[in-house]
């Protein structure tokens, strides 16, 4: 993946539907070979964006560049990109082989070469070769997913777009396919742009995540950075469960700060973010840089971890998650103290 030559560049891209603006002059650069996930809640504009990128809709303003070529005025069928649709859009009147060969047939590739490539792709996607003549309705959800991927790869696109293709699958299959997609990305070296509303999916697969909200990018960064250092309250909350405390002039209500922590946040104003897994139960007179005191309200078993809802002395609610072996005996009603290091917290500055 090169840092200098973006394969895709979006400049001030805008899309309006009558009075409603779905995309507000957004900019984006995607690097060659990158796996970028675009994540956002429903109505954030991610599907509108992908439809503009593949040419299904026309932008109201702005431009889209593929390397040095402007493509936003190019019809969908002339763009060197391809999309795996949410519904997969496999042709039900064609066999698996005919589906995979479709883009090759359009390019007038000889039938024997088409078949050879289709069989090669079946291998790549770990589908048995006898699936070549199977009907689409004879394939399971996961197999259809692989056929759709094989068809898209047969097209050999510069960029492969995905519009929430795993959303209709059950949890176990989704998890398995997430890993397969990441593996496929590594094996093909193609640029993947993946739209999803599932943060988990995005975190497992992508090199970078772009968080969308109301037609704008809220933050674009690697998953780790977005998780640990969100730029806004929205991103912090979107990236999973989080404890947020308003902080004014270096003081946060419900949190006892050690002198070191107080100087670290010296006079800051904004929101203090503490992830549930950063918290630990404190024993006896043990102290931490940030200390929280309260009572356990509820306890939830999450497999290898245990989650607690704690009501703090000031009335705020705190969520803490610890490994099972570090679980707090006593259950609901037990008075507890929790702590974390200042370095594990993040201050979201006020906009």
């Amino acid at each position: 993946m090169s840092d200098t030559t973006p394969i895709l560049r979006i400049n001030a891209l805008t899309k309006t539907f009558n009075e409603f603006t779905a995309l507000h002059a957004i900019d984006l650069k995607v690097h060659d070979g990158e796996f970028l996930a675009i994540v956002g809640p429903s109505g954030s504009g991610k599907t509108t964006l992908i439809r503009l990128l593949v040419g299904m809709d026309e932008p109201s303003d702005g431009s889209i560049w593929l390397r040095d070529q402007r493509i936003d005025e190019m019809p969908a069928n002339k763009r060197p990109t391809c999309m795996v649709f949410q519904s997969l859009a496999l042709f039900p009147h064609m066999t698996v082989g005919q589906n995979i060969e479709f883009p090759l047939k359009l390019r007038k590739v000889a039938p024997e070469d088409r078949k050879a490539r289709a069989l090669e792709l079946l291998d790549l996607l770990r589908l048995p070769q006898d699936y070549y003549s199977k009907r689409i309705d004879q394939c399971s959800g996961g197999e259809r997913q692989r056929v759709a991927l094989a068809r898209a790869l047969a097209f050999d696109p510069e960029i492969l777009f995905f519009d929430e293709p795993l959303s209709a699958l059950d949890y176990r299959l989704r998890k398995a396919l997430e890993k397969e997609l990441k593996d496929l990305h590594a094996r093909t070296g193609k640029t993947f742009i993946y739209i999803t509303h599932s943060l988990e999916e995005a975190m497992v697969m992508s090199d970078r995540i772009a968080i969308m909200r109301a037609g704008r990018f809220e933050q674009i960064a690697p998953a780790e950075e977005i998780y640990a250092r969100p730029v806004s309250r929205f991103v912090a909350e979107f990236m999973g469960e989080v404890n947020l405390f308003p902080i004014r002039a270096g003081q946060a209500e419900g949190v006892t700060l050690s002198p070191a922590a107080a100087s670290a946040f010296g006079g800051a104003t904004g929101t203090l973010m503490v992830r549930p897994e950063s918290l630990q139960f404190l024993e006896g007179e043990e102290h931490a840089e940030l200390t929280f005191a309260g009572r356990i309200e509820a306890e939830y078993m999450l497999g290898s971890r245990v989650q607690y809802t704690v009501t703090l002395e000031g009335g705020q609610t705190l969520i803490a998650e610890v490994l099972r072996e570090n679980a707090m005996p006593g259950g609901p009603g037990t008075p507890v103290r929790l702590g974390c290091a200042a370095a594990a917290c993040h201050l979201i500055a006020e906009a």
Binding site: A76, F85, F91, L106, R107, R135, R151
Partner: protein, 268 residues
Amino acid sequence: MKPSAFTRAALLVYGIAILAFLYLPLVSVGFASVSKGRYLSFPIRRYATGWYGEAMASDTVRDLLFVSLKVAGIVTVLSVVIGFFGALAFARYNWRFRKTYQKLILLPIFFPQTVLGLALLMWFNAIGVIPSWKTAIIAHMVWIAPIATLIISIRAYSFDPALEEAARDMGAGTWTTLREVTIPLLMPGIVSAGLFAFLLSWGNFPLSLFTTGADSTLPEWLYAKMVSGYSPLVPTVGILTVAASATLLAVGLTVPWVLKLVKRKTAA
């Protein structure tokens, strides 16, 4: 829940009664066509199949058949073409007054055909067009094209537009998308619409009566001969007409299935 013996018996009787109600008149026409007597009376004393030979050899019947086939064939082709593009316009595009237009287009289906026939006849006279089998085509189209549109629309509404988008995304132009994706997926609807269009035109009497002028279709001739000049040739031609419809229906239902089978075998 398992039905009781009484319920099963009642359902059987009900089923037989319904079938008898639907098919007994047709069976009696069949008997009339093989009765040697001029008029049908039971029990039939002497059977004869000579009327079938006479019907086959008759120039009149051949002319009637030709006119009916010509009208029904042209109506079928035109109705399917109009219905196909109409269905796509309704199901694929959002345009102003679409729903109102859709209702207005389908309205002729509910008009009494005699009134529609009379109105068309008056209109042809007003613009100076002499009624013939050609005007019958227009008359049949007014009634049948909306039905074809409705049948194809049902299919068009039920298929995922993402399939056409996917084809375009992979490099297919408008015509290629139509040929490779849209038409094959709408084919069951197109075949059904074609069959309906043909059979409705083939058996139509009220519209033909008003609009064929000096020409005549088989149903018109059957009616005219019932009114005056009846002979067992009338039920014979009637039975042959029904047999032609049934054959077409059987072919129409079988051919797509056979084609699918052949295509699957070729793909394998």
